[in-house]
């Protein structure tokens, strides 16, 4: 730009001014974009700050040991107790049921889509998974309470109306599309020559999938499963509707339970005026939940990155 300014003397001033204002605009635009990007950082900072500062208030009344290892949660009774173990057990129970459903179904669907399905079948199955992925979780809660539970009750007689099993299964349906589509992406990255080598040795399709495709993508599949686990742990509405809102320290899937998320939801809707121990207890549960999910997400992205470096 400056050189063109020199060759056309009469326009020099014009180009110079463009040059100067251009430089300034360049800086301003960069600054504005950086400012926008900082909102993301600020959001995480505010999340951590709010959770920590409210939790500190909580831990001034209840000792961390009592919170972490207490076996009774009763935030709204006269005889209050803030032991998080029943909530943790509820969360783990529903999450394990969800994974028990979603891992075989999700990976099976991924194998179907990437290895077996013709293009026309893919065009039918893929949108079905996308629709399942987009269904709001209240709808899954409704489905668990009014469809899964009554149907299960026909052959499990001691199943209570609100139970961990139905909620866990609905949660499994919720995370199945995530597992299926991300696993499918990983399957596609398996080089054709590896599969061809398997077939050349006389392997059947199932052998190629079990011995070549899955081992090759194993860390990516683990990354996907851990990511899905994080989503299941953070899910609120399904368990709030179908699991019963009763904090019980149990691993029996037929009973009513309460998860960490459901405890937050229940307290938020009930009477937890700001500043009370009940109110701050939500944030203690919240920060525990946040920490668990953050650790899972970190492991997941670590596995994913390691896999990408190894194979791409």
């Amino acid at each position: 730009m400056s050189s063109s300014g020199k060759s056309h003397n009469n326009k020099e001033g014009y180009f110079l001014s463009i040059n100067q204002s251009g430089k300034a605009i360049d800086k301003i635009v960069k600054f504005i974009l950086l400012g926008a990007a900082m909102f993301t950082v600020a959001a995480i900072a505010i999340i951590v700050y709010s959770l920590v500062s409210e939790s500190i208030n909580f831990f001034q009344h209840i000792s961390p040991l009592e919170f972490l290892f207490g076996t009774r949660w009763a935030a709204f009774f006269d005889d209050k107790a803030f032991g998080v173990l029943p909530l943790l057990a509820g969360t783990m129970l529903t999450t394990l049921i969800a994974l028990g459903f979603a891992i075989p179904v999700g990976i099976g669907s991924a194998v179907f889509l990437s290895e077996y399905a013709s293009t026309s079948l893919r065009r039918i199955v893929k949108p079905i998974l996308e629709i399942l992925a987009g269904i709001p979780t209240v709808v899954y809660g409704y489905f668990a309470l009014y469809f899964i539970t009554p149907n299960l009750q026909t052959f499990i007689t001691d199943l209570s109306t609100y139970n961990a099993l139905a909620a866990g299964l609905a949660m499994g349906v919720m995370i199945t599309p995530t597992i299926a589509s991300l696993t499918e992406d990983a399957f596609y990255s398996v080089p054709q020559y590896l599969k061809a080598a398997g077939y050349a040795l006389g392997a059947r399709k199932s052998q190629v999938i079990i011995r070549i495709v899955i081992p090759y993508t194993l860390s990516a599949v683990f990354a996907v499963i851990i990511l899905a686990m994080g989503r299941a742990i953070g899910e609120t509405m399904i368990v709030a509707i179908a699991a019963g809102l009763r904090p019980t320290l149990t691993l029996n899937p037929f009973e009513s339970i309460m998860t960490m998320t459901a405890a937050i939801a229940q307290a938020a809707t009930g009477d937890a005026p700001r500043g009370t121990v009940e109110y701050t207890s939500l944030f203690a549960v919240g920060i525990y939940l946040f920490a668990i999910v953050a650790i899972l997400n970190t492991i997941s992205s670590y596995l994913k990155r390691r896999w990408e470096i190894k194979y791409e």
Partner: protein, 296 residues
């Protein structure tokens, strides 16, 4: 001789075994896919049969009521529209700007890495935490109350990573030749970013914002914490009004034991799902149309 025969027999047995295993594996795959298809079918059929009779103008125009035949979800529909539109109005410019910054400016600096990591973490935060933090920080610390604007901001940050990631991915696809051509004509960096890259990522931004709308419109957990399960009998008018949203109204009806309210919740679900399907079809249509135009 006999050892050869035995060898042959063993080989044949092995083959039948692999065939059986193959058949078993195929059966498993088929069952897995059928489960997905069946679950979706049963869900849609159950909801439709239960709720279709109660989808009426009453549902759209009336206020919630303890009398089932008069109950509607007008404030919830308005609340959903207000919060979601506002959330996208906040998240779309922020997400595009963040994506542009990450892809165009901060190539591999520390700032870039920090923002990337926070972005991944933000995407993984359970949605109810957004509600909790919005309640503590926005409603109480900033004294905005349990209002529409607080709900919108929570939803905006919930969908922000989605829009940002879509922006980064599409900005990455803008060919280097286009940027170089612009630079060769004497363009400054901001001109390249705003006049070459930005127009090319608009189609993706548009579709990703529609997907963000469909994500935000179904979110109940953060709004449940922010607004509480209040009985809203008024249309939200200002940003500081109390509000409720469609999925929350559905939750309210689901948690009532009477059969009539179950029907009402199913009717609400039909409306919500219809909106979501329409949004997704719109997103697919726009993606196909706009992408074609860009390629041309």
């Amino acid at each position: 001789m006999s050892s050869v025969k035995a060898e042959v027999r063993r080989e044949e047995e092995k083959r039948t075994l692999t065939s059986i295993k193959e058949a078993g594996f195929q059966a498993y795959i088929l069952v897995a896919v059928c489960i997905c298809i069946m679950v979706l079918t049963m869900l849609l059929v159950n909801v439709t049969l239960t709720g279709i009779a109660r989808v009426s103008t009453t549902l759209f125009l009336n206020y919630p009521s303890s009398n089932v035949d008069e109950a509607g979800m007008r404030p919830a529909i308005l609340g959903s529209i207000y919060t979601v539109v506002l959330a996208i109005a906040i998240a779309l410019p922020l997400g595009i700007a963040t994506g542009l910054y990450l892809n165009e400016y901060a190539a591999s600096s520390i700032v870039n890495r920090v923002i990337q990591i926070t972005l991944v973490n933000l995407a993984g935060v359970p949605s109810i935490i957004f509600g909790l933090v919005a309640l503590s920080f926005l409603s109480y610390t900033l004294v905005l109350g349990r209002s529409v604007i607080v709900g919108s901001i929570a939803l905006a940050f919930l969908v922000l990573p989605l829009i940002t990631v879509a922006t980064i991915e599409s900005a990455r696809l803008v060919p280097l030749s286009h940027r170089l051509a612009a630079y060769a004509l004497g363009a400054r960096k901001y001109q390249v970013v705003l006049k070459v890259v930005l127009p090319r990522i608009m189609p993706t931004a548009l579709t990703s914002s529609i997907l963000a709308v469909s994500r935000a419109i179904g979110e109940a957990a953060p709004i449940l914490v922010i607004s509480g399960l209040i009985f809203v009998r008024r249309d939200p008018v200002s940003l500081l009004d109390e509000f409720t949203v469609m999925p929350l109204q559905i939750y309210n009806w689901v948690s009532r034991p009477q059969l009539e309210f179950r029907e009402l919740s199913a009717a609400g679900i039909i409306v919500l799902l219809a909106i979501l399907f329409a949004l997704n079809i719109l997103a697919i249509y726009l993606r196909n149309r706009l992408q074609q135009r860009v390629i041309e």
